[in-house]
Point group: C2
Chain length 80, copies 2
């Protein structure tokens, strides 16, 4: 079973990396580029076969290690 | 119009960051954690309103700046 996790900065939290990308795209001649937000994406293979249990485990992983919940949101998708 | 981009390492490319996460999860007592792959996720606001044109533009952005196409794959979703 595979878990797909998106970790993104909360609204209102400054995103200097996204800002740098936005400026770089402008310098390269791309017009009409607005806000850029950069986040993380993770795929985790789990031996757990019950989707509900897997989701709870991954939620714990996010809270304990993967995300900084003060400034970041996370979303979890469980699948194959 | 918003573009959502996933940038992941190609199969066979070593992922030390993912490995570190895998080991850290093991140290924290999470069992049954297999392969962990870490990638990037980006949301880009575009003033372009034509989805086809937007996708082509973002594809160019990926090739020129956002992804290292030697070792990384990217997928693009255009939406609101």
């Amino acid at each position: 079973m595979k878990a797909r996790i998106h970790i993104t900065l909360k609204n209102g939290v400054l995103d200097p990396q996204g800002k740098a990308v936005q400026n770089a795209l402008g310098s390269l001649g791309f017009d009409g580029v607005g806000d850029v937000r950069q986040g993380k994406y993770m795929e985790i293979e789990l031996s757990e076969t019950d989707p509900d249990k897997a989701e709870k485990t991954v939620e714990l992983m996010c809270q304990k290690l993967l995300a900084n919940t003060v400034i970041e949101n996370y979303t979890i998708k469980i699948g194959d």
